[in-house]
């Protein structure tokens, strides 16, 4: 066995060393492209959804999202939960939000004809602690016009860009939007019998709908306007300290708080919208299918390379067999070549992936309607794909060598 490997190693190494450098580079280049196709395409597909999930986490939910149970108007006994959160050392920060549905109307002062349609949209209004919200979601970073709210800005609101005609024109005719809105303009917010004018202080835009389709006001003003004097909020976004996983933090919060079913506590992963969850599964399947096709292409590539190599060297394979070189040695020589091409192709691919593609896509995310797509290439997943590629390559290198070697020795020598 050892002798066969030793002889096969010498034959394989010499074939690699004395092959044309350009042919070798071309094969390695093809293997590198195959590897990038295998990892990159599925990485981009998954990255589109991961980008959206990450945006939801960073701009809306935090690491753990506490929300109102189905059928309840708000999280009952919010105060107790907030006190608990304040005492958990694994919690970095949290932002409670009051939410109510309301109608936002613009241009009502210039509306002369009472039969004319109102310039209004239905929207969620969020009452926020502006400092905590900015700390948890960085809401101020998503301002595209105007300024962020101050804690005492009782007469001001921030308005989501997708509620505005000038930012949401692409949404189509089916969606109502407000026209002529810019910082300093007054809008009228109505809920039930209550109506009040607010000045638009800023416009926020994000690919997370909960940011760009909401109206934000300071929590004190919200409580007064919507009569939420019980101070029970609708959602709390909680951010974990560095190094604390979402699952761990969720379990700590569940154990520490006596919510008695008053609140739904989920990790950001669990709380992602259903459509994103479905798309994530679909894109994963799609990524695996494309990856699978990549594997098949890689194996066929290697098969053809080794087959052509072996068939053109059939005479020498026959001679080696004639002088007593075992089939195992000759097969190992070809498998070694396959491993060489696959290893260098994969190594070059990994270098390009982590040295070039991931940083470039991270800096310049792919602009997708509901997310900024990133290139997802976790090292363990990449290593699994490298291993799969190596195994497939070894098999693809072995089969043609085996096919040629099992031919009659004399027929091989005489080229019959």
């Amino acid at each position: 066995m050892w002798t066969s490997l030793r002889v096969g190693y010498l034959l394989g190494i010499r074939q690699i060393q004395r092959a044309s450098i350009w042919t070798t580079l071309l094969i390695i280049f093809i293997m590198m492209l195959t590897f990038l196709n295998l990892v990159g395409v599925s990485g981009v597909l998954v990255g589109l959804i991961e980008g959206s999930v990450a945006a939801n986490r960073n701009q809306y939910m935090g690491n753990v999202f506490i929300s109102t149970p189905s059928g309840d108007p708000y999280i009952k006994d919010t105060n107790s939960i907030i006190q608990t959160l304040g005492n958990i050392k694994e919690v970095k920060d949290f932002s409670p939000r009051y939410i109510e549905r309301a109608t936002v109307e613009a241009n009502y002062k210039t509306r002369r004809d009472q039969n004319e349609l109102r310039d209004s949209v239905g929207s969620s209004v969020a009452g926020i602690n502006v400092i905590k919200e900015d700390s948890v979601t960085g809401l101020s970073r998503y301002l595209v016009e105007g300024e962020y709210l101050n804690s005492n800005d009782t007469g001001y609101v921030l308005i989501g860009a997708k509620l505005l005609q000038k930012y949401a024109a692409d949404f189509g005719e089916g969606f109502s939007t407000l026209e002529e809105i810019y910082p300093g303009v007054k809008v009228r917010i109505s809920s039930g019998e209550k109506t009040k004018e607010y000045i638009v202080k800023g416009i926020v835009d994000s690919k997370v709908n909960e940011t760009s389709l909401r109206v934000f006001m300071v929590e004190g003003e919200f409580v007064r306007f919507f009569d939420r004097y019980n101070l029970n909020v609708n959602e709390i976004a909680v951010v974990a300290k560095d190094g604390i996983s979402e699952d761990v933090l969720k379990n700590i919060i569940v154990k520490s708080s006596d919510s008695r079913g008053f609140a739904k506590i989920q990790t950001a992963e669990e709380a992602i919208p259903q459509f994103l969850s479905d798309m994530k599964i679909a894109f994963n399947i799609l990524g695996n299918i494309i990856g699978g096709i990549g594997i098949v292409v890689a194996s066929i590539t290697i098969f053809i390379i080794i087959f052509i190599n072996a068939i053109t060297r059939r005479k020498y394979i026959g001679i080696l067999k004639a002088i007593g070189i075992k089939a195992g040695s000759i097969q190992f020589a070809y498998v070694l070549q396959s491993i060489f091409y696959a290893s260098l192709g994969s190594a070059t691919g990994v270098a390009i992936l982590y040295g070039l593609l991931v940083p470039i896509v991270a800096k310049n995310p792919i602009n997708f309607p509901f997310s900024d797509g990133i290139l997802v290439a976790p090292i363990d997943d990449v290593m699994i794909k490298v291993t799969v590629l190596m195994i497939v390559t070894i098999i693809a290198g072995f089969i043609p060598a085996w096919m040629i070697i099992r031919k009659n020795t004399l027929d091989s020598i005489l080229g019959r």
Partner: protein, 225 residues
């Protein structure tokens, strides 16, 4: 040493059967230098392939050094060729990616010799054929005659009981051919059993015996010395 009894070799191509060897009987003695001669298509190479276990006859018996070689498995045949037989082919048959010395070392390594021992044996074999100055040259850097001498060195480095040479001078000019014959003669003088196929009478003058084939049959034997 070699005993060939009633060897028949038939090739089948569709419905057409061609009998290339028609009941050959032949004995080769230890230390003998036997030449097999005949016109093209007489069956001389086919006979050598059967005797050297590169092919299997349709019927008949072949024993080499007491071993019934037709009863051996494929694996056993490979080992028998490695350990007991040496081959020199018409077109040198060197592996193009291996240097002269590596071509000789490969079967020695396969026999389990260490790299240093294999190299030492190979150097001696190259010296024997007068190519100690071409050790690290690739086959493409050697002349035809030099390549054939490397091929002979590869065969004899294994110390085979029989050396089979299939038209070893066919692709060489007359000077190189004579040089190859001289090398083979020298080996035979040292006791090497050689079976050589050739169609050129002048290269058989130093053989012990010549067997003439025609249409798959031995038609004549000539003992020279």
């Amino acid at each position: 040493m070699i005993s060939v009894k009633n060897i028949i070799k038939t090739y089948t191509n569709g419905d057409i059967e061609t009998q290339v060897l028609k009941g050959i009987n032949l004995e080769v003695q230890t230390g003998e230098f036997l030449a097999i001669m005949g016109k093209s298509g007489a069956g001389k190479s086919t006979l050598m392939y059967q005797m050297s276990i590169l092919d299997e006859p349709t019927s008949g018996e072949i024993t080499i050094d007491g071993t019934d070689i037709l009863s051996l498995s494929t694996k056993e045949k490979t080992e028998f060729r490695l350990n007991r037989l040496g081959y020199v082919f018409q077109d040198y048959a060197l592996v193009p990616e291996l240097t002269a010395i590596e071509n000789i070392m490969i079967p020695l390594l396969m026999r389990g010799l260490s790299t240093s021992d294999a190299r030492e044996h190979s150097l001696l074999a190259l010296e024997d054929v007068g190519l100690s100055h071409r050790v690290d040259n690739l086959p493409s850097q050697l002349s035809g005659g030099e390549q054939q001498r490397v091929s002979i060195a590869r065969a004899v480095a294994q110390d085979p009981i029989i050396l089979f040479a299939d038209e070893p001078t066919a692709n060489l000019d007359s000077a190189s051919s004579m040089n190859i014959i001289d090398v083979l003669m020298e080996l035979n003088k040292r006791g090497q059993t050689i079976v050589m196929v050739t169609h050129e009478k002048e290269y058989t003058l130093h053989c012990n015996r010549i067997v003439f084939l025609e249409d798959g049959k031995i038609i004549k034997e000539e003992k020279l010395r």
